[in-house]
Subunit: 134 residues, 2 copies
DNA sequence: TTGCAAAACGATAATCTTTCTTGTTTATAT
DNA sequence: ATATAAACAAGAAAGATTATCGTTTTGCAA
């Protein structure tokens, strides 16, 4: 990642300092909740409005710059939309990580079984991370 | 399903008409949002409070009688907790259906790759259902 | 550059959604 | 039957998200 200006332009969104700041934070931490992002960006833009944050999040989700990750028993997190991947959550330290899995066969099976034609999926695995296992 | 009274007792929750009503609706429709459930149960319990609904949903999720299904771009739905399974959503008619898939190999792979020990998963597939394909 | 129109911004009000509080009623175990 | 702990309804409160509106900024074109 890096050129957030270009990304915004490619998606026909105006380039504003607030948006650049948001993207750079999200990109840096990987995944973030609304309230974490708000707390974080206030360090750089002490007067940014929470309404601006929500509106920008929504615009960027809409044009698919960002993606919302819904997680059982916790708040949604947002990430920069990259190639499709799954997520895993550690139930102890609560961290969320990306996970690259091939679901082709699974999805093909699902398709055969159900008659659906699938083009999107959301998989979250829950467990204990290596560090918390000790 | 059927004996909701027993289910509540087994989970140490008191048996009330409101709870029985909720369970019977949820069981009947399979998956339901809070607001749908509220509209529905008001037909039988015209004076039930929304607070009661939320409290009961939360209690029943807590003791694992119910399960919340979080779905991208739509409101959470609740179902009666049965054996583990996945879900599929039709993007056209928006229906949500159960889907039984074996994810053992996928999860084993994920575990090998990441070092996590997984004991839970949430998979939702999005696409077009057979009816909407015509 | 400069100027214009459209979009974004901040502040705050409005609207959900969910939880909390309180006084009353009900379920269950004795 | 009765006691008590839990559940109930109603509404207030809290929290999360969206809408409104006057001001500022951006992107574009003269």
């Amino acid at each position: 990642m890096k050129n957030y200006e270009l990304i915004l332009k490619e998606h026909s969104l105006k380039v504003t300092p607030q948006r650049l700041g948001m993207l750079s934070i999200i990109d840096y931490v990987g995944h973030i909740t609304i309230e974490e992002l708000f707390a974080n960006i206030r360090k750089d833009f002490c007067s940014i409005s929470i309404a601006t944050l929500y509106k920008n999040i929504n615009s960027m989700v809409e044009v698919k710059i960002l993606k919302e990750i819904k997680i059982s028993n916790s708040k949604s997190k947002y990430e920069i939309l990259k190639n499709e991947h799954s997520h895993m959550v550690c139930k102890k330290c609560e961290k969320l990580e990306d996970l690259n899995l091939c679901l082709d066969i699974t999805i093909e099976n699902a398709s055969k079984k159900s008659g659906y034609i699938f083009d999107e999926n959301a998989l979250v695995l829950f467990g204990i991370c290596p560090e918390c296992q000790r």
